[in-house]
């Protein structure tokens, strides 16, 4: 029986995993403040946070398998939400696991840093669950405020402070755009509920309504900022460069993913009938983002900055799926997101090991001949680079993610052939910088007297192994993930269940 979301008790039930995470995070905040800041206490809080994340994942999986559904209301209960949640939690777990050693090295002793990651993740989960623009906004703010602080976590670093203030100012600015857009859409439709907006667009024939279209445009700008789509990407490189490395990875994977998850839901639920109107905007956003991200990444010598631009490029690739305007965009998004999260966070984890205090020594010249010094790290980084490039087998899931996006783009009722061609041409451009990393590691000599990076230990080591192995294994045998992604395909409420659709007739559940 569907939950009745107008009742407080049932609404809380629908939000159980999110509430679990928030409640745990608040307790951990107290725990963090209980002792004086120290490297050990920071580690304890981190471990406790990891446990909490595991518990939340268990809760999410239990809900996903329980078959609970929700009636109309502000919260969605569907496989799309649960699939996105698992990926956010995975990104958070990797970020915290790799922070433990990193924070100790950088002298960041505040245990609260881990708790902030938990709060941001809670915000993300709320975003994935939102079926109402107010909840969307609430989720985005919860996430953003925590991430503003995280970006400036390294107080001693001027770069970190610069990045944080930039992110905060521009972020606030973009939130204003988003909020104004929401207000206009509300003005035009008289509701903030996504499903009802979708209905009113049809019943009141708002396709050409200036107020409504201006609202969509402003919202697209707001989301464009959060997902770092060009031309709203200017903050990305500086913020990514300044933030502590694990947080950079978390922003590149988690924050972007959450913004995308909600973008896709809003666009598919509230504005599907206005496809003809927003299609051109998303099309150009995708094309410009791909070109800017990839071409500028070619110039980068600092690996952290290069990965920042690469994350912009991947935003463009994901926007290609959205431009198709079909539910398959959400399937492709979920699959791509997992591949991208594993590859990006894996790459940042390798950078954590390679870098020295203050995130130095991560330019291309510093990894010359890394193969001779630390072959394991060189191979792992190669896998991550090839995954980001979207290369089959050696890059594992990366290729399949791209394949999925191409499928979504080409199989839509209005095939996005030209955009697909831009995508593959830009993929070829991206080979220029991803392979450059591989090239210097394997094909250059290790300079005399270059320090050997430390051997990664503990959780950091585990993260590198796990992400690389998962990428390869799911790259060769992707069917389980593909099935989960298909099950997680976003369905507008009232649409027939997956089993009756021909595209999903192999789904097990």
């Amino acid at each position: 029986m569907p939950l009745d979301l107008s009742k407080a008790a049932q609404l809380s039930l629908a939000l159980t995993p999110d509430l679990l995470l928030f409640a745990g995070a608040m307790l951990l905040m107290l725990f963090a403040a209980w002792r004086a800041d120290s490297a050990e206490h920071q580690r304890r809080v981190g471990i406790a946070s990891l446990v909490l994340i595991v518990l939340t994942i268990v809760a999410v999986v239990m809900f996903a398998r329980s078959g609970i559904t929700a009636g109309p209301g502000v919260i969605a209960i569907d496989q799309y939400r649960w699939a996105a949640d698992v990926i956010f939690l995975l990104a958070a777990a990797i970020a915290i696991a790799t922070s433990l050693d990193y924070n100790a090295r950088e002298g960041i002793w505040a245990g609260e840093s881990h708790v902030l990651v938990l709060f941001a993740t809670g915000g993300m989960m709320l975003m994935a669950a939102a079926r109402d623009l107010m909840i969307v906004f609430l989720g985005i703010e919860l996430m953003s405020i925590a991430v503003y602080v995280l970006a400036g976590l390294n107080r001693r670093s001027a770069k970190s402070a610069e990045g944080a203030i930039k992110y905060f100012l521009l972020g606030a600015f973009s939130t204003a755009f988003l909020l104004y857009g929401i207000a206009l859409v509300y003005g035009a439709t008289g509701t903030t509920n996504l499903v009802m907006i979708g209905e009113r667009v049809v019943t009141s024939r708002l396709d050409n309504d200036a107020l409504f279209l201006a609202g969509i445009a402003l919202m697209l700008v707001g989301f464009g900022f959060k997902v770092a789509a060009a031309p709203f990407h200017m903050w990305t490189p500086d913020v990514y460069e300044g933030a502590p490395m694990p947080i950079t990875g978390y922003m590149a994977a988690g924050v972007k993913a959450a913004a995308f998850a909600v973008l896709i839901r809003v666009w598919l639920e509230a504005f599907p009938t206005a496809y003809a109107k927003w299609h051109a905007a998303v099309w150009w956003l995708a094309a410009i983002t791909m070109v800017v991200g990839n071409v500028v990444a070619l110039q980068q010598k600092n690996l952290k900055r290069m990965l920042a631009y690469s994350s912009i490029a991947h935003t463009g690739f994901l926007l290609v799926a959205l431009a198709s305007g079909t539910a398959q965009a959400s399937t492709a998004f979920l699959f791509y997101l997992l591949a991208y999260t594993l590859a990006t966070m894996g790459a940042f984890t390798v950078l954590i090991v390679l870098s020295d205090r203050g995130d130095t020594r991560i330019s291309l010249n510093d990894i010359n001949g890394l193969w001779y010094a630390r072959p394991g790290l060189a191979v792992a980084l190669t896998i991550f680079m090839l995954a980001l490039l979207g290369f089959p087998v050696f890059g594992g899931m990366g290729f399949l993610g791209k394949w999925y996006v191409l499928q979504a783009a080409l199989q839509a009722p209005a095939p996005q052939t030209r955009l697909a061609i831009v995508l593959v041409v830009m993929t070829a451009v991206s080979a220029g910088y991803y392979l450059e990393v591989v090239r210097v590691m394997f094909m250059r000599q290790r300079p005399e007297g270059a320090a050997t990076p430390p051997n990664p230990l503990g959780l950091t080591r585990f993260v590198i192994y796990a992400t690389a192995i998962l990428l390869i294994v799911f790259g060769i045998y992707p069917d389980p993930v593909a099935r989960l992604a298909t099950a997680g395909t976003h369905r507008a409420p009232g649409a027939p269940p997956a089993a009756t659709r021909p595209t999903a007739n192999t789904v097990a559940r």
Binding site: P375, P392, L406, L410, V424, A428, R439, R446, D479, T503
Partner: protein, 534 residues
């Protein structure tokens, strides 16, 4: 032989086994102690240090087993059947309609045997040339083998694309790590060219798979399903053809997409050049035969498209030969001769008669043998003198008579002297193509003469002039390993020159089926380039 093969169910497991054996071999190589684990500093000469034997022997034995196992196909293959044989099929990614389907016809059979044979020999060819990081080198060679064989066997376009890309990475590393001075430039150029070409093919494959699966409601990438797509609009077919064309034309390489080839071939280590020339160049022409022509017959037989391709092919023949004529570097000369030979193959394929297609296939095999051997010989002499400039040599016939004999025979095969495989192949192409493209064929025949000119002039300067450089007087002749590796190639060259029938008969059914299929789908054949036509 057949009974024995049947009794062990050979045809049911052979193709996946051929893919698996090299991967297992690569894993075994990494189980032997690496220099790092033995505490030997990186960059050491591993042959002098005595630790290269493990990797190179394992790689050689594994590929020898691979070759012997693959030889069974020669007998087990039924030449009378034009369809797929040794089929192997299992679901891979059911959610996307992707299957792991392998199968061969006569064309793929010969390519597979060529691959397994050349790979085993090229391990011997790098025996003393590769002195550092042997673990990496030999395991990459093995993985490369799997990738290349996979391309020839794949009957599912998803699988085909994956294998197509898989072979790229090992070759990139082989050129980039063990190559010559400009290896970094050559390796990245090789990678980017191939990747740009193939990514557009990826878009085309996704689109075709979707079209093929429209009725079932989910994509279907199997070769037969895509072949059976009823109607593609001529505009769609044209652009899809272009996407495939770019991928294959870069690989062939056709003029003007050939510029990566001289760099990659010259900078690659000997075995790399051998594999590039003998096997990897064949992927382009194989792709045209297997995919581009049958999928888009109307486009490929469209007079404008066909004329353009044939003109480019003939330009390749003439241009390749002329550039080869003026090369001071022997390896570059051989590299440009590949451009010319592959131009001949393209002419044969797009002339599209049974003879010309069979001739094209024979050129592919013959070029694999003779150019492979030429690169091996260049590598052998380079290891002794460390220069590839033709002017640094002269009068070698007196010092190294065995080397001179082998080089002469291989050269004669390369220029198509009767009695060698080159003659049979080029003759068939010219005869077959004359029916449909008489003018192009006439010009290509001039290219054959140019081919004789640059090759003979080169060996004259290498082998037969005065022995005027004192450094050359003390060169040593071929040793046992080098002979072991060259004799099988020489034997094949002569065998195919004198009695090519067993090979031709195995390819005949498949190639005439291909020609019929394309022509019947495309409707009446258009006469092209003026006077020809039926």
């Amino acid at each position: 032989m057949n009974e024995f093969l049947n009794s062990i169910g050979y045809m049911s497991w052979i193709l996946p086994a051929l893919l698996a054996i090299p991967v297992v071999g690569a894993a075994i190589i990494w189980m032997t102690p690496t220099p790092r684990r033995r505490g030997i500093p990186p960059g050491t000469d591993e042959i002098t240090a005595g630790i290269a034997n493990g990797p190179r022997w394992i790689a050689f034995l594994v590929l020898l087993v691979e070759f012997v196992v693959s030889l069974g196909l020669w007998w087990a293959f039924d030449p009378a059947v034009a369809g797929w044989q040794a089929l192997f099929d299992m679901p891979w990614i059911p959610t996307w309609g992707v299957r792991f389907t392998l199968g061969i016809d006569g064309i793929a059979l010969m390519m597979i045997l060529l691959t397994t044979g050349i790979m085993a020999l090229s391990i011997l060819g790098s025996w003393t040339g590769i002195r550092t990081r042997t673990h990496g080198y030999y395991s990459l060679m093995l993985i490369l083998t799997t990738g290349m064989l996979g391309v020839f066997m794949a009957l599912d376009l998803f699988l085909f694309y994956v294998m197509w890309e898989v072979m790229l990475v090992p070759m990139y590393f082989i050129i980039g790590i063990w190559g010559g001075e400009r290896r970094l430039y050559a390796s990245i150029k090789f990678f980017i060219y191939t990747m740009v070409g193939s990514l557009l093919m990826l878009v085309a494959i996704v689109y075709l798979g979707y079209q093929a699966g429209l009725l079932e409601g989910r994509p279907n990438f199997s070769y037969e399903a895509i072949l059976a797509i009823p109607e593609l609009s001529s505009r769609a077919a044209f652009w899809l053809f272009i996407a495939f064309f770019l991928a294959f034309a870069v690989k062939v390489p056709m003029f003007p997409f050939h510029t990566w080839l001289p760099d990659a071939h010259v900078e690659a280590p000997t075995a790399g050049s051998v594999i590039l020339a003998a096997i990897m160049l064949k992927f382009g022409t194989y792709g045209f035969l297997r995919f581009a022509l049958p999928f888009f017959p109307a486009v490929s037989l469209n007079p404008a498209v066909r004329t353009t391709i044939i003109v480019l092919a003939v330009i390749g023949v003439i241009y390749g030969s002329l550039v080869a004529l003026v090369q001071p570097d022997i390896k570059k000369l051989v590299a440009y001769s590949s451009v010319a030979h592959l131009g001949m193959v393209m002419l044969g394929i797009f002339a599209l008669t049974t003879e010309s297609v069979q001739g094209a296939l024979m050129v592919m095999i013959g070029h694999g043998l003779s150019t492979g051997a030429l690169f091996l010989l260049v590598g052998i002499i380079y290891e002794r003198r460390h220069t590839r400039l033709i002017e640094a040599y002269g009068g070698l016939a007196k010092v190294v008579p065995l080397f001179a004999t082998v080089l002469t025979i291989v050269t004669l095969s390369s220029i198509g002297l009767p009695g060698t495989n080159g003659f049979v192949a080029e003759f068939l192409v010219l005869i077959g193509s004359f029916k449909t493209a008489p003018w192009a064929t006439t010009i290509a025949a001039i290219g054959v003469i140019l081919g004789a000119a640059y090759m003979l002039w080169a060996i004259q300067r290498l082998l037969y002039q005065k022995l005027d450089k004192p450094e050359n007087a003390s060169l040593t002749d071929l040793n046992k390993r080098e002979l072991t590796l060259l004799v099988p190639i020489l034997a094949c060259i002569l065998w195919l020159g004198v009695y090519p029938k067993p090979v031709l008969s195995r390819m005949e059914a498949s190639s005439s089926k291909l020609v019929e299929q394309v022509e019947s789908k495309a409707g009446r054949q258009n006469p092209i380039l003026g006077v020809g036509g039926r």
